[in-house]
């Protein structure tokens, strides 16, 4: 959030449209970073194969794996980060996506011979679709499975949700493992998996492919097309994430994450919103699965282990739940550990005469990393869940907590101490809640008088931990901002009268917020309501 241009939170709004002409504050480094970083990252990403080749880093294969993880992390971030639905079985959708490409672009089903843009001889038996068709098909199929597997979990929260999703994450790969004889048909080829998947085709002649040249060639020797395909898929996932995040549905997800009862009281159909989250999250995971299957050229049930679900969840959590860039960063960190740090440690250890394979310690290291993160930075690397709002009239939204002394003198409450007496219980409750969450516990009970029909159970520790810095401690007297004097409200002689009148007068003149041409009313059928 940009520093407010003024010390007083009241100034921009009181000045109203006039503040547009006021000199703009010099954009902060963080501001510039926020604006340009995505573009810079994209440029670096586009140039990466050239850089990699000229430096001879040998990083293409790890990078493809990292980009696959980025897709998975972005997909899971929708389910866990946005909607707050702890999913421990996300690998299922990756597996389904991979099997989609295995079925639709291989000779597995020898009974049929279907070719659609496969770029190979169309007498070869099996289903051979172009990968460009498989992506949308797999996205729809996995989205349907996301909804299907999500539906039974809708009423569950916290631990129960986690356990059921974990179960699905185990069941799906097992179905693939045992799917070599379902109804007398070999669907999945069992543990041997399906191999010999078609290489994607961009229209190059088959002879070009044989020669290992050109963009038509998607082989182990030419990784560039794979790389750009992966990058494109990551961009799709990124676009879907950021577009959904600040939409009606994205806000509904976050509202459900924060407080499902309040969300439903706001008119949110929680069941639908959750199913959308499962569906969209699964579709992104499915596309990652298609890429992975096509890239490896074969699909084995043994590669869809619980371990994958956990490491993708780690990426989302350590990056900062609900933050798109956090998920991306998390994918780089976790896969960086896998592909660079741990092998390097092993090599260094060997150089020192130690015979330790650090790579086999990765789960231990993830676990430690997760615990350390939860203890010291529960909000993840990139915690900001708020967006920068800029308005036409130059009001920057007053982001950031203004210091207590920012309130204009004379607007303090007459009896700050009395007010604080009332605030004290709230503060205590707040802190207790945060502490409980930090310890991985949920508050045993929400206050009953409020009466939620279902109490939000423990979700995941990081989710429940509130913002880093709660409000000022009750011990320090903090002047309370007074309500803006309104024409109809009680007169407040202490408040500056001149600018306020100008600002609030629009309501006095009958221009009220409800006169806006904004939303359509499509939910109340006029016939049903009494005239």
């Amino acid at each position: 959030m940009a520093a407010a241009a003024s010390t007083s939170p009241y100034v921009p709004a009181l000045a109203g449209p006039a503040s547009a002409s006021a000199p703009k504050a010099v954009p902060s480094v963080r501001d510039l970073l926020g604006r340009w970083a995505p573009l810079m990252v994209l440029l670096v990403a586009l140039a990466f194969p050239m850089i990699e080749q000229s430096l001879g880093l040998g990083m293409m294969n790890p990078m493809l794996r990292i980009l696959t993880s980025v897709m998975l992390a972005l997909g899971l971030n929708i389910v866990v980060g946005f909607a707050g639905l702890l999913d421990l079985g996300y690998v299922a959708f990756w597996a389904i996506g991979a099997y989609c490409v295995a079925w639709l672009a291989s000779g597995h089903f020898t009974e049929v011979t279907i070719h659609v843009g496969s770029g190979i001889m169309n007498t070869i038996p099996g289903i051979h679709l172009s990968i460009w068709l498989i992506f949308p098909i797999a996205a729809v199929v996995t989205a349907l499975f996301g909804v299907l597997l999500g539906a039974p979990t809708l009423r569950l929260r916290g631990d129960y949700l986690a356990i059921v999703t974990l179960g699905f994450g185990e069941i799906i790969p097992n179905i693939f493992r045992n799917g070599d004889d379902i109804a007398g048909h070999n669907w999945t080829n069992g543990t041997a998996g399906i191999s010999g998947l078609d290489a994607p085709n961009l229209g190059g002649a088959p002879t070009d492919q044989m020669l290992g040249m050109g963009w038509g060639t998607w082989g182990p020797l030419n990784l560039w097309p794979w790389y750009y395909l992966a990058l494109g898929l990551c961009l799709v996932c990124y676009y879907v994430s950021v577009t959904m995040q600040w939409s009606k549905l994205g806000r509904a997800w976050m509202a459900i994450r924060e407080d499902e009862t309040a969300a439903s009281a706001m008119g949110i159909h929680c069941v639908n919103a959750k199913l959308w989250a499962y569906g969209i999250g699964a579709a992104l995971g499915g596309m990652a699965g298609v890429f992975h299957g096509a890239r490896i050229g074969s699909v084995f049930p043994s590669s869809f282990m619980f371990y994958i679900s956990i490491s993708v969840l780690c990426m989302v959590i350590i990056g900062g739940m609900g933050n798109v860039w956090g998920a991306i960063a998390g994918a780089f960190v976790i896969e960086g550990l896998n592909f660079w740090l741990l092998p390097s440690l092993t090599a260094w250890g060997q150089a020192l005469g130690l015979d330790i394979d650090f790579s086999s310690w990765n789960m231990l290291i993830f676990g430690v990393l997760l615990v350390v993160m939860m203890l010291y930075r529960p909000q993840g690397f990139i915690p900001s869940k708020s967006r920068k709002l800029t308005f036409a009239d130059g009001d920057d939204g007053g982001g950031g907590s203004p210091p207590p002394d920012a309130y204009p003198a004379g607007m303090q409450g007459p009896d700050g101490d009395a007010a604080h007496g009332m605030h004290a219980p709230l503060e205590v409750g707040h802190e207790a809640h945060a502490t409980a969450a930090q310890a991985g516990l949920a508050p045993a009970h929400e206050p009953t008088t409020l009466g939620a029909p279902v109490h939000p159970g423990p979700a995941i520790a990081a989710h429940q931990v509130h913002h880093e810095a709660p409000r000022a401690a009750p011990a320090q007297p903090q002047p309370q901002p007074q309500p803006e004097p309104q024409p109809h409200a009680h007169a407040q002689p202490t408040a500056p009268a001149q600018p306020t009148r100008r600002f609030t007068s629009r309501f006095a003149q009958g221009s009220n917020p409800f006169d806006r041409p904004l939303p359509q009313r499509r939910d109340i059928d006029p016939e049903g309501a009494p005239a």
Binding site: T243, W246, S247, K248, L249, M254, A255, E258, D259, T261, A263, S264, A265, M266, G267, S386, R387, K388, L389, F391, D395, D396, G397, G398, G399, G400, G413, P414, A418, A419, M422, H423, L426, E446, P447, L450, G451, A452, P453, H467, R471, P481, Q482, P483, Q486, A489, H490, N512, P513, F514, R516, P517, L518, P519, Q520, R521, R522, I524, A529, P530
Partner: protein, 286 residues
């Protein structure tokens, strides 16, 4: 896009004092405890009406039944001419009922503007396809939604805090943000559960004006639960008193104030004076 105007809702839709909501013999039992016992209740459109009673009288439970958070045990419930008995909360919200909570339930990790935009949920189109394609209509709706959210925040008096996380607001501002969020759906009736709890006297005074403005400028009926008797008596046009889940009195503030049964219920003194609740954490003074 059709113009959304005053004629679309509230007391313009229903003539003043037309019956907006009717509850008949509404009952809520939790095991052996009858929290709300066969209460008859109506909300006349375009008014500010209050529901009072000692702590544990069943007021919040009554709100939860009206808004669908609780499935009433028995009785009848009609809102906007529709049977809403046992309907899910989002359906009732879509019909034009909106509420705040006794223990503030803002979306703490979302910005203030986003909180209000969530309140606008039922009034936004936000179609899946137009969102993903970022169609101009969708972007305009979003822009206008943000503008309206800002105006509502101004309306309740917490402008220039739009981009702050709701959980970072001072307590009184959180209460008002909750009201702005409730108003964002342009409800026919807004249910406020102890909005003055924890507010300082000046904030409470401003609240009185705010409630009149909600009624007069936004044309929105207000149903209020409040312990702050001064506020209740000056703001309401009709007061209903619950005690142990039963309705013990109903009428104008003056009638209720002088009702012996009410004085009896509020153990203490004769003019609705000091009420310390059974938990000892909330105190209302006259």
């Amino acid at each position: 896009m059709t113009q959304m105007s005053m004629s679309d809702f509230g007391h313009d839709r229903l003539p003043r004092d037309h019956e907006l909501l009717r509850a008949s013999a509404l009952t809520m039992r939790f095991g052996g405890l009858t929290a709300v016992d066969a209460v008859d209740f109506t909300i006349p459109a375009g008014r500010v009406v209050s529901l009072i009673g000692p702590n544990g009288a069943g007021k919040t439970t009554f709100f939860n039944m009206l808004t669908g958070l609780y499935h009433p045990t028995e009785g009848e419930l009609t809102f906007m001419g529709k049977d809403t008995f046992g309907r899910p909360p989002h359906k009732i919200a879509q019909l034009g009922m909106s509420r705040t909570f006794q223990n503030i339930r803002l979306f703490k990790e979302m910005t203030c503007v986003d909180n209000v935009l969530v309140g606008m949920h039922t009034k936004l189109q936000g179609g899946m396809l137009s969102t993903l394609l970022r169609l101009p209509s969708q972007r305009r709706e979003e822009r206008e939604g943000i503008e309206l959210a800002r105006e509502l925040m101004r309306f309740v008096g917490i402008h220039s805090r739009h981009a702050e996380l709701a959980g970072n607001l001072p307590y009184g501002d959180q209460r008002r943000l909750e009201i702005a969020r409730a108003l964002a759906s342009r409800p026919s009736v807004v249910l406020l559960d102890e909005p003055a709890a924890g507010m300082n006297p000046m904030e409470t005074a401003a609240l009185e004006g705010l409630m009149h403005r909600i009624r007069d400028e936004l044309g929105c009926t207000v149903l209020l639960i409040e312990h702050e008797m001064k506020l209740v008596m000056s703001v309401s046009e009709r007061v209903t008193v619950l005690n142990f889940g039963k309705k013990i009195a109903e009428g104008t503030p003056d009638e209720v104030r002088n009702d012996p049964a009410v004085v009896e219920a509020y153990l203490g003194s004769s003019d609705g004076a000091v009420v310390a609740d059974k938990y000892g954490d909330e105190v209302a003074t006259a």
